[in-house]
């Protein structure tokens, strides 16, 4: 085949451009750390990257939701501990009040303790979460107990909102406190405690009266036991949910690491390979330049003197 000068130059120019392009691409991969930046460079891998990024974003959203749920559960747990302590103390007060040796001053003190416990229970029930809403209210915005000592009004809580914390897994946003602040008999706890205080303060003079008071105090202790059982059930529900969150956090972390590894496998540049590619293209570029120089100097005209 006859070779024209333009063909020689074009070929060397093409080689120079090809090697420069290769060098540029290798440099770009090294500096960005990415094997490709456009879907067109590897559409199949890009589809995988997008899927993985979606999965990672979902995991991040679940993690963020789990933090809120956990915080709400821990606050609920603290409240339940306080409620348990208050009800236990009230139960002991009632046990002490069963004694016939108490004088009227003792009974008044015990009754005051129970009234104070009633106010404490109302305060616990009215605790707020970090967003200023009732911790035990579920979705309702009102405080659980309004009114004041002697005239407590219970605004019944609703079921708490459910929040997605993993694929197909939802947990209550806090404790479901429906029934928590009522006795098995159906009365609300502060009102029941105040009624118990009234009973404790009584000093019947006759035997039937004393028997009736003793029976009432027994019944009150039974009511408190029922309340304590509900608290205990609530604590175990919170504990179970927290354990579930722990388990999910472990699995989420494992998924996150697997996801990052998959993203890296799909997208990240193999630095060793890219550095070697850069060296290869640089060497080829040098060679192409040398050929160009040689071409420049090689002509029959150079020998015509």
């Amino acid at each position: 085949m006859r070779i024209a000068n333009s063909m020689l130059y074009r070929q060397v120019l093409d080689a120079l451009q090809q090697q420069t392009r290769g060098q540029f691409e290798a440099q770009q991969a090294i500096s960005s750390g990415l094997r490709f930046e456009r879907a067109g460079e590897d559409p199949v891998a890009m589809a995988g990257v997008l899927r993985q990024q979606d999965a990672n974003a979902r995991l991040a959203a679940y993690a963020s939701n789990a933090v809120v749920v956990e915080s709400r559960l821990r606050q609920s747990e603290l409240g339940l501990d306080a409620l348990n302590d208050t009800l236990q103390a009230a139960r002991e007060t009632l046990l002490r009040a069963q004694s016939d040796a108490l004088n009227s001053a003792d009974r008044a003190t015990l009754a005051a303790e129970l009234r104070s416990a009633a106010a404490e229970v109302a305060a616990i029930a009215n605790r707020q979460s970090e967003d200023g809403r009732p911790l035990y209210g579920g979705s309702t915005p009102q405080a659980l107990f309004t009114g004041a000592a002697g005239a407590w009004v219970l605004n019944p809580p609703s079921a708490p909102a459910r929040v997605a914390v993993a694929e197909g897994r939802q947990l209550d946003l806090g404790l479901d406190a429906r029934g928590l602040f009522t006795t098995p008999g159906g009365s609300d706890l502060p009102t029941a405690l105040e009624a118990m205080a009234d009973q404790v303060a009584l000093a019947p003079a006759d035997a039937p009266g004393r028997a009736a008071r003793a029976a009432a105090l027994d019944a009150a202790i039974g009511e408190l036991d029922g309340g304590l059982e509900r608290v205990s059930a609530g604590r175990s529900r919170v504990g179970l949910d927290l354990a579930t969150l722990d388990g999910l956090a472990d699995s989420r972390e494992a998924q996150r690491i697997a996801g990052e590894q998959e993203l890296s496998r799909l997208r990240d540049a193999d630095l060793a390979a890219e550095i070697s590619r850069l060296a290869q293209h640089s060497a080829s570029l040098e060679a192409a330049r040398a050929v160009f120089q040689r071409l420049e100097s090689q002509s029959l005209f150079n020998y015509l003197r």
Binding site: M1, N5, S6, R38, N65, S139, A161, Q170, S299, L300
Partner: protein, 531 residues
């Protein structure tokens, strides 16, 4: 003796002409389109001596034609590949694409479900809806700018082609008038080849130089561009359906017969950009409709009914400009998941309607178009007002992406609780329903979620860009091969010319020597006579 002088002189002038040809070749070694010239010597009839009997151009019409065709094909493929690569880069980037804003929107919805009354979480969702709408608008503007750029580029190409065609008419006329191929005619022939190559590159014009020097030039469908020496009038117009087209003498030409860079750009304008706009509109309408439907079904923080968050992209119907009837069609989206993926054309034959997609395939159609019985194509309903005449056509875009806008709402207006909830309710059932709807199967018979459709669009655009680039690479290799074949015949090789220079220089020196010898002989004769 006189004959000796005469022979010497003929050799001197002949080799001088040969040396001139060599110098012309050397001087034009880098001139595009230059075909190497050579002289052929012959014995002078009567009296001996030598003369140039022919000046030849080393041009081969078949090689030139192959090169023009390969250049045309590559120009079209490269123009399309460049534009698709820009769209691909835009979509693939987290900062400029659509996948990330949609992901951010679904994440904001999910996070709001855990803090339904938290003002910051509510603001975050509003911000995500703003960002999503802004990104759709930005992508839509980017696609329109690509279309504007391609249109303006096409205008320049057609104007350039018109100039080339007019110049070609003049060059061809002078060439046909030239009695023999002399240096001037060879230059004209080179110019003709350069102009033909330019026309092939811009419009894919096909041409053939016949053995008698006459020229046939036209489009792939045989539409001539040079008739009786007169160049055709080229222009850009729009057909009845609003598509850009090349016009010759004011008559629109089918898109597929236009090649070269213009062909690539027309394909981009007629197929690639509308397909991208339809895909964007589909996703934008999907997100807007799902969010709006969910929000209007819920209750805001003050217990009032929820409001739509987006102005949703609506279908658009464009009647063909040559419709005889005055009827207009109004389209309404009734089933988002069943809406056709891409724009389609409705045609009335006088009795019945038919629908065909962008690829020409028929689409299922029901209804008559009357108010009580609208035409139904997929999830769209189209109602006709005014009469339609036989042959009337309408182009229907399922959703115009650029119409999306996020409404300026207060964060409290977000509906996180179901309808009927009391004010300030912490119920998150409505926002959970929205998260489920956004993640659920919406398109393709319930198989694809919005995020999946978006991801598929990104990777499909990448595949289209990769395929276009691969075609550009293949055609570039074919072009290089064809151009090499052409240059192997007509290109200048300096070594070859240096050898010829040496050869003709020696011959010239020898001829000069013949004259000197003749002069010496003549002097000898004169001296003998003088004595």
């Amino acid at each position: 003796m006189t004959q000796l002088f005469d022979i010497g002189r003929s050799a001197l002038t002949t080799y001088q002409a040969a040396l001139t040809t060599v110098s012309r070749n050397v001087a034009n070694v880098n001139t595009p389109g230059y075909a190497r010239q050579s002289v052929q010597f012959g014995q002078r009839i009567g009296g001996g001596g030598v003369e140039v009997i022919q000046l030849s151009r080393a041009a081969d019409n078949s090689a030139l034609q192959s090169a023009r065709s390969a250049i045309s094909e590559n120009a079209g493929a490269q123009a399309r590949a460049d534009a698709l690569s820009r769209i691909d880069a835009r979509l693939s980037d987290d900062a400029t694409g659509l996948a990330e804003p949609l992901r951010a929107l679904t994440t904001a919805v999910s996070q709001l479900s855990a803090r339904p009354t938290d003002p910051a979480a509510r603001e975050a969702l509003l911000r995500a809806t703003d960002d999503f709408a802004a990104q759709v608008q930005s992508l839509d503007a980017n696609l329109r700018s690509e279309a504007d750029q391609a249109t303006s580029q096409l205008g320049s190409l057609v104007r350039g082609a018109q100039n080339q065609l007019e110049e070609l008419a003049l060059v061809q006329q002078r060439l046909e008038e030239a009695p023999v191929l002399d240096a001037a005619a060879a230059t004209l022939a080179d110019q003709r080849d350069v102009l033909l190559e330019g026309l092939a590159e811009t419009l894919g014009v096909q041409s053939r130089v016949n053995a008698d020097g006459s020229l046939q030039i036209g489009l792939a469908n045989g539409q001539p561009l040079l008739e009786a020496g007169q160049p055709a009038r080229l222009g850009l117009g729009t057909n009845a359906l609003g598509e850009l087209e090349l016009t010759v003498g004011g008559v629109g030409q089918p898109r597929r017969i236009v090649g070269g860079e213009a062909g690539g750009l027309l394909q981009l304008l007629d197929e690639d950009i509308p397909a991208a706009q339809d895909a964007l509109g589909r996703i934008a309408a999907g997100v807007a409709d799902v969010v709006n439907a969910n929000q209007t079904a819920g209750a805001a923080l003050d217990g009032s009914p929820g409001q739509a968050l987006f102005d949703s992209p609506q279908p658009r119907v464009r009647p063909a400009s040559d419709n005889a009837g005055a009827g207009t069609l109004t389209a309404q989206r009734v089933d988002l998941g069943a809406v056709p993926d891409t724009r389609f054309t409705l045609e009335f034959d006088g009795a019945n309607w038919s629908a065909s997609g962008a690829d020409g395939q028929a689409l299922a159609l029901a209804g008559t178009g009357a108010a009580g019985d609208p035409l139904r194509v997929g999830g769209l309903e189209l109602t006709l007002s005014g009469g339609a005449a036989a042959g009337d056509r309408f182009v229907v875009e399922p959703a115009v992406a650029g119409q999306i806008a996020a409404r300026p709402l207060d964060a409290d207006a977000l509906a996180t609780a179901p309808a009927g909830s009391a004010a300030n309710s912490g119920d998150n059932a409505q926002i959970i329903a929205l998260a489920d709807a956004l993640a659920g199967g919406l398109f393709d018979g319930g198989r694809s979620s919005l995020q999946q459709v978006t991801n598929t669009w990104v990777s499909a655009t990448g595949e289209a860009a990769a395929a276009a680039q691969s075609r550009a690479d293949v055609t570039a290799a074919a072009r290089d091969f064809a151009v090499d074949r052409r240059d192997a015949i007509q290109g200048v090789n300096l070594d070859e010319e240096a050898a010829d220079l040496l050869r003709y220089e020696k011959a010239y020196q020898a001829a000069a020597q013949v004259l000197a010898t003749a002069g010496s002989l003549f002097d000898s004769v004169l001296a003998a006579v003088r004595r």
